[in-house]
Structure formats: C-alpha cells, structure tokens
C-alpha cells in the first residue's frame, strides 16, 4: 500500500527529487503513515461484512459454550455498555448511580419540588385573595360588547330551501333549544317582572343572590315559535335572534337603550324590503342591566331582539349587517367583526 501511495505521489517529483534528505522523507513518511491509516480504515470498512459474519459465527460458538463475551463488534459493545449503564449488576448501579444515590437524589428532588409546589400554592392563594368572586378585576378586554346571533350552526351563512325542510330543520331545532330557557312558565316561576325603562339595580352585599328580570319567549311574538313552530323558515321568512354578550356591570347610557338595526351590508339596499323586530322597540330594555355575574345572578337571561326577515330577495345571497346603535356603543372595530355588529348572509331558495 505504501508503495502504491508513493508511486501515486511520485509523478509530481522531477527526477532530481527522488533523492531526498532523510529528514525530509520523515515528514513524508508521517503523512504517508496517516494516509495509510486512513486507507487501512477504509479497508477495514470494506472488510466489515466478513468480520461480522465471522463474529456471528464466533458468537454462536461462544454462546453455545455458554460464555457470551464477543469482542470487536462495536455495535454489540455499545449495546453492552448501554446495558451496563442502565443496570450494572456488579456495582448494583443503574444509570451510574447506586440505589442509595438514587433514593437520595429522588428525596432531594421530592423536597425541592414539594417546596416549589408550596410556594406556587401560596402565590396562587394570595392571587385569589385579591380577586373578587363577583366582579372581575379588569373588564377592558371584554369591552365593547360583542354580538351573536341564533340559530347558530357553525356558520354565518343561512342557506336553505323553503320547500326542503331538511335544509332548515336544524335551524328550527337550534332555536327551539335556545328558547327553552325563555319559556314563559319558567320565566314567571324563576324571575321577577320588573318595571321597564329603568335599570334593575339591586344594592346590598356583593354575595347576596340577585334577582333577574323576566324575558319571556312570548315577547318575541312571531319569532317565539309559539304560533309558527318553524320560526318562519317554512315560508321563507326566517327569524334570527340577536343577543348582546354579557359583561358584568355593563350599563347602556341612561335613558337610551341599545337598539338593533339591520340592513344589507353590500349591494342593493332593496334586497331586504322589510324586517320586523320583536320586541317592537328593537332594543334591549334597560331593566336587564346591569348584570351581576353568574355566581349571584343565577337566573339571568340575556335579553334578545328577534329579526323577522319578512321580505328578502330570494335565490340569491344577501349579506346582512346588524348593528347595535346607541350612546357609547362601538360597532366599527376593524379587527373584530363581532363587536357591536354581526354580519351574516341569507340565501333563501324557493
């Protein structure tokens, strides 16, 4: 091999350079030695399959003899080392630690984590001490109020065919379900009938249970599902309920209840020729405010406004925007399409 390497290098030398000073040659020898090693390594790699075969044979023999101590196979050695690292029977160590050492370290970690847990508990406890159960500390993130509509089936596109009940049946079911809590009997039983047009302010301690004002299903008239159990869907005049998100302590500016008004968002305004609102004022009466939080204001039912789209262009998608109107109401946040407004499309086919 040496000879080869030399001859490979040789052509680069002119004749005179064949003779070199001894020392000079030593340098070369060293480099050659390096290369030799490399070459040998390569050769070893080349030989590996044979070696392995041989070793396997040897292993088998040895195993037959009952002493599984093969040498030379690096993979096997590594595995063995690994095994020994995991469990060393001689020194009774696992992962380079004895049982005693392991128990010591586990105990230490246990105490460390236990005290950390104690610290965190104390911290969370003090945090809760400063938190009121009835009134959130900050409400600026949840303001201004959002708006949501019912029926809601994971989509704001109302596509249905009047003549095919299957396409609108789920809206009806959804509305019925939603309005269960507004049944007149239930409302009369649980809630009080408070005077309209003014806030229903209940002074007294924070932790006292608060009474809720009645919002009866019958307030919704044609959209209550009482007279027309299909909420107008069977006639192509769908009812859509709109509610304002609850915010603890929120009060519309005095004497000016929040109104709802809907119109075509884009396109021909005459696509919607008439909308009936129930209650007829199209507003959320002041008596439903303020909200005292779900802990004390248990039976509070959000006030609703029903929009009855009695005459909408059929067989085409009509984008509708319903906005809250009133003093201090914000309905034009760019990033949030549900603050003070809600946009949906009606596509009623006949």
């Amino acid at each position: 091999m040496r000879q080869q390497l030399r001859s490979r290098r040789a052509p680069t030398f002119p004749h005179g350079y064949r003779y070199r000073l001894d020392d000079q040659d030593e340098v070369n020898q060293n480099y050659l030695a390096d290369e030799e090693e490399e070459a040998e390594e390569e050769a070893r790699v080349m030989r590996v399959p044979n070696l392995e075969e041989e070793e396997k044979e040897e292993e088998q023999k040895e195993e037959e003899e009952g002493q599984g101590q093969p040498t030379g196979n690096t993979w096997w050695q590594k595995l063995q080392l690994m095994n020994e690292y995991l469990w060393d029977p001689e020194q009774r160590m696992s992962l380079a630690r004895t049982g005693q050492s392991w128990s010591l370290i586990l105990v230490i970690y246990f105490f460390f984590y236990a005290s950390l847990a104690a610290v965190i508990t104390v911290c969370m406890y003090t945090l809760f001490l400063t938190i009121s159960a009835y009134m959130p500390t900050f409400t600026e993130r949840v303001k201004p109020a959002g708006v949501m509509i019912r029926p809601f089936a994971h989509s704001l596109n109302f596509n249905f065919n009047v003549s095919e009940p299957d396409t609108w049946q789920h809206y009806v079911i959804s509305l019925n379900g939603f309005l269960q809590g507004y049944n007149d009997s239930l409302q009369e039983e649980m809630n009080v009938d408070c005077p309209p047009g003014q806030y229903f302010i209940q002074d007294g301690n924070e932790d006292e249970d608060k009474k809720a004002c009645q919002f009866k299903r019958s307030f919704l008239k044609n959209c209550s599902g009482l007279e027309d159990p299909t909420f107008g869907y069977s006639t192509g005049q769908p009812c859509i309920l709109l509610k304002m998100n609850r915010i603890v302590g929120f009060r519309p500016e005095l004497g000016d209840p929040v109104k709802v008004s809907c119109k075509v968002q884009r396109g021909d305004e005459n696509d919607i020729r008439s909308i009936h609102y129930y209650p007829e004022s199209a507003s959320f009466d002041l008596r439903y405010y303020p909200y005292y939080g779900k802990l004390t204001h248990v039976n509070y039912t959000s006030p609703l406004v029903a929009m009855h789209f009695t005459d909408v262009v059929k067989n085409q998608a009509v984008p509708v925007q319903c906005q809250l109107k009133g003093k201090g109401i914000i309905n034009d946040v760019i990033n949030d399409h549900f603050v003070g407004r809600v946009i949906f499309t009606l596509n009623i086919e006949t």
Partner: protein, 929 residues
C-alpha cells in the same frame, strides 16, 4: 447553514409550510401565520449563518492584512534580453539572475555563482548562511551546493540559474501542500459545541416526537400535532446561541490580539485554554534571540554580567587593572559597528552590522565604557586578521591612545583553549604573571564551568609589541604574520549566551501551576538547551536528569534507574532511534523534557507522541519545515517576527512578539472563555424550559396557549442576546491558572449537572413564575384557572363569539385572541424578568455573587438594561402591531415575577454556599457545573 441547530430549524420551517399546505388544502382562506413563521425560522438560520461567516471572514481578513503579499519579481533572461517579470510567470527552463537580498523566485540550478550565499533556515532550520556554487556536490538536492530553493533568500553575491521547478512543485511548495493536506482536526471547542448541540437536539427531537404521539393519541388533528411539534422545536433550540458563541470567541480573540496573540481561527481561542502540553522553541521564544555577555572571568574570579533586556546595571567589580585591559581588547578586537543614524535609540535597540557574538561584545562594551567608536578612533587599527574557522581566533593591532606610549598593542580573541596555547603569562590584578600550572588549572575550571552553563566562551589576550622591534613605521603583513603570535598575555574569559526573556521564568512557573507541561524543542546543543531550560524553569531547580544522578552518585549513566529522574534531555539522535512506544514512555514518565539537536521534522514526531497520550498540544514554530507540526498540533503557534509565511499560514495563532509569556496569557484567556461559555450556555438553556412548558401544558391540560412561537423567537434572538454576550466579560472566579487543564473527555462544556440544574431547577422555577403571571393576567380578566383547564378547544374556535368566562361574561374570538396575546406578553415579560436573575446568578459558579462583585462587570448591566428596553419597546412600542403578538401590558404585571426572580437568586446563593461549605461532597458533585 447546515448542521446542528440549523437542521432542526429547517425542519421547523418546513413543518410550518407543510402545516400551511394542509390548512390551505382544507380551507383556502386560512391565515398565513404558519408561512410567516416558517419564513422567520428560515431567516433566523440564514442570518446566523451569515453572521458566523462574517465573523470568520473578519478574522481571516486580519490575517490577510497581516501578511502583506508583495508580488515577487524575478529578473529573467528571455530572448537574450533581461526582463523583470512577476515570479509566478516563470517556467521551467527560464534563466534567472539573483543577487544579494533577493528571494529566490523558484527552485533553480545554478549555472554560475560569484560568492553567492543563501539562507536556508526556513527550509532546513540551519541558520548559518550556506555558500552556493555550480558544483554538484551531493546526490541529495537539499545537500548539494548547486541548487537554490524557492523562497529562500540570497544573502550576498550574485548567481545565475535555470529554473527547474515552480510553484507547488518546488520543495517549499511541496512542504506547504503537505501541510495543507494534514486533516484539520476538530478543535476541542467545536467538539464541545457539537456535544452540546447533540444534547439539545436530542432533547428537542425526543420531546417533539413524544408529544407528537401524545397529541395524536389525544385525538388532536395531525395539523395541530405538527404545530405543537414546531413549537417544541422552536422552544428547545437556543437560536441565538451559536451567534453568541461566535461573538464571545471573537471578543476574546480581540482581547488576545491586544496581548500579542493574533488568533487566526476563532475556535483556537479556547484550544489554547485546554492545552496540556506546550512544545516550545527555544530561540526567540524562550530567549531574547540575542547573544549577550553573561559571565566574565578575570583575576581568577567569575563575575556575572547583567543579562536582562536592557543591561542596565552591570554590578561586577570594574576597578581592577585587568578589567581595563580586558575592556580594551573587547572594544578593539571587534569588527562589529552600529549602523549610522540611530543615535537616539537606546543601546540595546540599535542595529549592528556584524555577527551575533561581536554584536554582544560591542553592546556590552558600549554600555560600560561609553562611545566605543570614539575609543576605536583613538586607537587606530593598523592590521587585522578576521576570525576564521581554521585559526579560531581574531587578531588586530592598534596604536595606543597614550601619546607617551609608542608601542603597538596587539589584541586577540578566540576559542579559549587556542588563546591559552598562545599565552605565556596571565594578567592578575593588572599585573602580568607567568602562567603556571595552578593558574592554568584555574582557567580550565572556569572554562568548564562557563561551558557547563551552556554559554559560548571566548578567551582574550593581548601583547604590547616592543617599540624597538616594531617602530611606528613598521608595516604589518597579515599573510606572512611578521609579528609574534605566541607568548602573549592572557587577560580573561568572557562567556555569552542567548539569555532567557525576563518574563519567561514566571510564565513557565504559571504553566506548571496550571498543570501544563512545557517541553523545549530546539536545534541547539544539549548543554545550552539544558542551561536555558534550567534558567527558565523548564527543568526545575531540584530535579535531575539521568546524567545528573549518575554524576552525583558517581556511577555510569546506564546504571541509573531511568524513572528516578524527573527531567530528561533527549537529543535528536536518540530520538531517531526511539520506537513510538519508547517515546510515549519517555513523554509519560518525565515531567520535564528538553529535546535538543532536533530537526524541525522531529517536532512532528514529538507532537504526535504527545497527542497519543491524549494531550492537547500547542506547538510553536517559525520555519517552513515546522508547518506540518504546526498543522498537526491542536494549536499551532507561529512566530510573528521570526516566522515564515508558510508557518503563519499553517498556524492557528500568531505570536506578534514571539514571546513565550504571551502564550501563557493566551492560555489564561482560553480557560476563562471556556468557563464563561459554560455560563453563557447555562444562561441560555435555562429559559428553554420556560418556553417549553407552555406547550406541554397547552397540549395536555388544554389551557389557552401561554406563549407563542414568535414571542419565543423574540426572547431567544432579542432580549437574551446581549446578556449572554455580556457573560463573556466576566472575570475569572478564582485563579484559573492554578488548576489542571481540563480533561478532554471528562470536563465537558455542557455536563450533566449543568443540564439538570438549568432545566430542572432554575428552568422549572422560571416556568412556575411565568405561569403565575399568566394566571394572574387571565384571572384578573375573568378567566380563573379552573375555567381555563380544557378550554383550549372552545377558545380557539373562530365561530364561537360568545364564550363564557368564570363570571358569565361572554367573549368574542378577537377579544379572546387579544387576551391570549396579552398572556404571551405577560409570559414573555415574566421570563425576561427572571432571566435577569438568571444572568446575575450565572456570573459565578462557585463563589457568591457578592464575592465576585455585583458591579464589576459593567457589561452585564448593559445587558440587563438592553433586556428591559427591548421588552418595553416590544410591549409599548410595537404593541399595536398584531402580527408580532405583543400587547401593551398593564404596568403591575411587570412586577409579578419579581419575587420569583429573587427566589431564584436566593436559591442559587444557597447552592453555591453548600458547594463552598462541603467541597467534594455530594452536593458539590451533583450541583456544581
């Protein structure tokens, strides 16, 4: 660009794009967030790559500017015309002319020569000028006189030659290409970083896969699982760390450059710190590379001369009449002269025309006597025989400056034994006395003693020629020697040595206490080498070589037990006969070794021997022939002044002042940087847990995501960058030169205690602190932790716009989203605040912060300020840019994590206290990283 973290980040980026692909195929209107994230990740990889490249290039540039390559010109005869062409245009067969001072432009065979002498030192290590002629004298091209080698210098004379080899095919070119052929081994720090990358990548990949499986088995869609995987990878990979390491290394490189160590390869900065053996040259590195008068012998006494760099105080007795005579001989019998025009320079700095010993004598007498030239002028020279190797003496005849004395004074210096032969009297205390047995014996003892010190000894004698025989008009003829050259009067001896640099003994002691073995490798005579080794402490005062023991016990060298001797002086001849095993044995068993009379090639063998012992070897060298050894060494150190370009190219570091002491300061810096890198990595790793935990909790417990991927990138590449660089400015905790060099295999950069302590102790505390802030933000906004658990699914539904919180309030999607970003910001701020504490505790590993000084490292405070300012800008300045996911945070949330930061500090002080209280104990073993 590729390798380590970069691959992980590429994987992350590609996963991002895949995730977007899946999203897009489901819903073409899906948001581009994942595309952006992927782009940002790719950008991070590319930027850090460019940054690392830029840093490398910058340090390479330093090197490039260092060796100014002047295009070499050659005078060539072509077409019967003399032309000057750049030497790389030479071809074989060209006839070139060279003259004194030229570099030989190619390997040439001389056709004619007029007194041509060349300096082959860079090639063969022989420093004597060698004459060149057109005679073929030897079979070996390196020995024969009719070949001149490329890049060697023609010192004097002129010659004409034919080009026989050019470029890489020249002898020098071959050595250079051999050197470049030596595989560059990975530097220790590269190995360490790789090890660290493996650990972190292992953690990242295994965690990623485990949680991918968990997520899938928890019935998360694959898309989500992929996004989790990205989050886990991004949280685990310290994106900014590699750039930080590069900056840290280059800062140290700059600091070292100030201390005259120019580092070519950034990683070599640390290699020097882990060096366990330094193979040092003698001449110029350990010594001043300047012959200097060390001892004088006259009046039967040995006097010591000052050999320090400036010769300032010569304290020997100058009152004796003998000294007056001796000093006269010194001044007169000397051909060396100062070059004109350097009156303002101190004597020792002046350039002298003349050989080394004469220069030494000239400077010596100039310092003591004053203006030598003036004295020479007063004592006009009438005849002179210059030194030659057959006579072994130098002689000159002068008129005296005493106007009453008409005699000529003949002064002579030379090899002491030859001088003594010519003498019949000796001067003692200014009086001539016959040279008898006892004085001769005294002379021999002194001569042996001075010779034994490895010094070059010269003898001096004189004779006043009787005026009657040699009248003023007498014409001296140096060829016939018509004057007496025997029965002279012996005056004294003077010995010279190339003295060690005054800083070297200290430096060697430092090396020794730092556990670094210093091996001297020199071409000098063993006695000289040993003497210098002793005087600088490479062989310490109380250790003996085999020969010393033999002498002390008065037995033959062979009878001495080799291993009794701590020190060994090995010559090149002995080395040649040694097998590698014998060499290993020698290197392992002797702590103090001097290799003398070695050729530069044998350096390579020595280096390899040291490396076989597992040592990290630093080698100094200057010649072209040293370059393979420099390459082979873990860190090759070339000499900036004496070094050849080939050596500088092969080396990792260049010593600008050729001073051994600079190596030692380099070692100190290297060790410091290793310690500080450890701190930097510990600092950087800690927050990984605080970045990772949110994802794990998010997946398992279903909280709204506490921290976003983009936000994590802002920590890794924003707030944390300057502080982690600032740790590079930290001073050493204790005397780092008092401990052993680190063991390559055992003392890892990132070891188990470091990882465990960073991940499971401080990291966990940080995550807890950050979660407290997170819960505070959510609870105060209306979502109590009990509500949050399992809320993730509803929380992230885009069409749920009336999600109820703990108070019955209803939230739109965007309101929730905004709250989530506020949570990110709060989490980010919490990590930042706790990273300040982390930064402070990482200043030390063992000492208390108060021992180290809280304010000693100002850069740390710059780092802390940068953290806070960046966080403020992100929250309040960029809080309105939704893509960055930052919001304006209420002021009080900035302080929620402060108690945790203090807790971290206290906990770490406790850890350090226990380590200091019980060194070597269980706590120390498990908690000291």
């Amino acid at each position: 660009m590729v390798g380590g973290f970069s691959i992980l980040l590429w994987v992350g980026a590609i996963l991002c794009w895949i995730a977007y692909g899946i999203e897009y195929s489901n819903d073409p209107s899906s948001s581009l967030d994942n595309v952006y994230l992927g782009a940002v990740l790719a950008l991070v990889v590319v930027l850090t790559g460019i940054f690392a490249y830029y840093q490398e290039a910058k340090s390479t540039n330093i090197m490039a500017s260092f060796s100014k390559m002047i295009p070499q010109q050659a005078l060539v005869i072509r077409d019967a015309e003399k032309k000057t062409i750049p030497s790389e245009q030479l071809v074989v067969g060209d006839i070139v002319e060279i003259k004194g001072g030229d570099q030989i432009p190619a390997d040439i065979r001389l056709l004619s020569s007029q007194g041509c002498k060349v300096d082959n030192s860079s090639l063969t290590g022989e420093s004597e000028p060698q004459s060149r002629s057109c005679d073929f004298t030897h079979d070996n091209p390196l020995e024969t006189k009719n070949i001149g080698f490329y890049s060697t210098t023609c010192l004097e004379g002129t010659a004409t030659g034919m080009v026989i080899n050019t470029g890489d095919r020249t002898v020098i070119g071959q050595i250079a290409s051999l050197a470049s052929g030596v595989g560059n081994e990975k530097t220790p720090i590269a190995i360490e970083i790789e090890h660290f990358v493996h650990i972190v990548a292992g953690v990242a990949v295994s965690l990623g896969i485990i949680f991918f499986i968990i997520a899938v088995s928890m019935k998360y869609p694959v898309l989500y699982s992929i996004i989790f995987l990205i989050g886990i990878i991004v949280a685990n990979v310290p994106e900014g760390l590699l750039a930080t390491v590069t900056v840290t290394l280059s800062l140290t490189a700059k600091r070292m450059a100030k201390k005259n160590c120019l580092v070519k390869n950034l990683e070599a900065v640390e290699t020097l710190g882990s060096t366990s053996i330094i193979c040092s040259d003698k001449t110029g590195t350990l010594t001043q590379n300047r012959m200097t008068v060390a001892h004088l012998w006259f009046d039967n006494q040995i006097f010591m001369a000052d050999t320090s760099e400036d010769h300032s105080n010569q304290i020997f007795d100058q009152s004796s009449g003998t000294w007056a005579s001796l000093s006269k001989i010194l001044t007169l019998c000397n051909r060396a002269e100062f070059k004109p025009g350097q009156e303002s320079l101190p004597i020792m700095k002046k350039t002298v025309v003349g050989d080394a010993s004469e220069t030494a004598l000239l400077k010596f007498s100039e310092v003591i006597l004053g203006n030598v030239m003036e004295i020479r002028k007063r004592n006009r020279k009438v005849a002179e025989i210059p030194f030659n190797s057959t006579n072994k003496f130098q002689l000159s005849i002068h008129e005296t400056d005493d106007p009453n004395d008409r005699r000529f004074l003949m002064v002579m210096k030379g090899a002491p034994e030859r001088i003594l032969e010519k003498c019949s009297t000796i001067m003692i205390n200014g009086q001539e006395q016959p040279l008898d047995e006892s004085t001769a014996k005294a002379f021999h003892t002194a001569y042996m003693e001075l010779g034994g010190l490895g010094e070059r000894v010269l003898g001096f004698c004189h004779l006043y020629l009787p005026a009657d025989e040699f009248p003023e008009t007498y014409s001296f003829d140096i060829d016939t020697m018509n004057f007496p050259t025997s029965s002279l009067c012996f005056v004294g001896l003077l010995s010279m040595i190339d003295p060690p640099r005054s800083t070297v003994p200290d430096a060697v002691t430092k090396c020794r206490s730092a556990g670094i073995k210093v091996i001297m490798v020199t071409g000098d005579h063993p006695i000289t080498a040993k003497a210098i080794a002793r005087s600088v402490g490479i062989i310490s005062a109380n250790s003996e070589t085999v020969e010393d023991i033999a002498k002390r016990l008065n037995i033959a060298v062979e009878q001495v037990n080799k291993w009794d001797a701590k020190a060994a002086v090995v010559t090149g001849m002995e080395l040649k006969d040694m097998s590698p095993e014998q060499l290993d044995e020698l290197l392992a068993n002797h702590s103090e070794i001097v290799f003398a009379r070695t050729s530069p090639q044998q350096k390579l063998i020595i280096v390899e021997g040291c490396q076989r012992l597992g040592a990290v070897v630093a080698v100094t060298g200057d010649g072209v022939n040293d370059s393979p050894a420099l390459k082979k060494a873990d860190i090759g150190i070339a000499m900036g002044i004496a070094g050849s370009d080939a050596a500088k190219n092969a080396a990792d570091m260049v010593l600008l002042d050729d001073n051994f002491a600079s190596i030692v300061t380099g070692v100190e810096e290297g060790r410091l940087i290793f310690d500080n890198l450890k701190k930097t990595i510990a600092y950087t790793l800690t927050k990984n847990i605080a970045e990772l935990c949110p994802f794990l909790i998010y997946i398992i417990v279903g909280l709204p995501l506490p921290i976003g991927t983009i936000t994590i990138l802002f920590i890794d590449l924003g707030t944390d960058i300057i502080p982690s660089v600032a740790l590079a400015y930290e001073k050493a905790e204790s005397d780092i030169m008092n401990r052993k060099p680190r063991h390559k295999k055992k003392d890892r950069l990132v070891n188990k205690p470091l990882a465990l302590y960073s991940y499971l102790h401080i990291g966990l505390m940080q995550s807890l602190g950050a979660f407290v802030v997170y819960f505070t933000v959510y609870t105060q906004a209306g979502f109590r932790p009990s509500t949050l658990i399992g809320l993730r699914l509803e929380w992230e539904k885009d069409d749920v716009n009336d999600l109820e919180d703990s108070y019955g309030q209803e939230w739109t999607r965007y309101q929730r989203q905004y709250l989530e970003w506020t949570g990110y910001t709060a989490f980010f701020v919490a990590i930042m605040v706790q990273q300040i504490a982390d930064l402070i505790i990482r200043k030390t590993r063992r000492n208390s912060i108060f021992q180290q000084g809280l304010f000693r490292n100002k850069v740390i405070w710059v780092g802390i300020a940068s953290q806070i300012i960046i966080a403020l800008i992100l929250s309040y300045g960029l809080g309105s840019i939704t893509a960055l996911n930052f919001t304006m945070l209420r002021a009080q949330y900035w302080f929620v994590a402060v108690p945790y930061a203090i807790l971290i500090w206290v906990y770490d002080e406790m850890r350090k206290l226990f380590i200091r209280l019980y060194p070597g104990g269980w706590w120390d073993k498990n908690m000291y990283y």
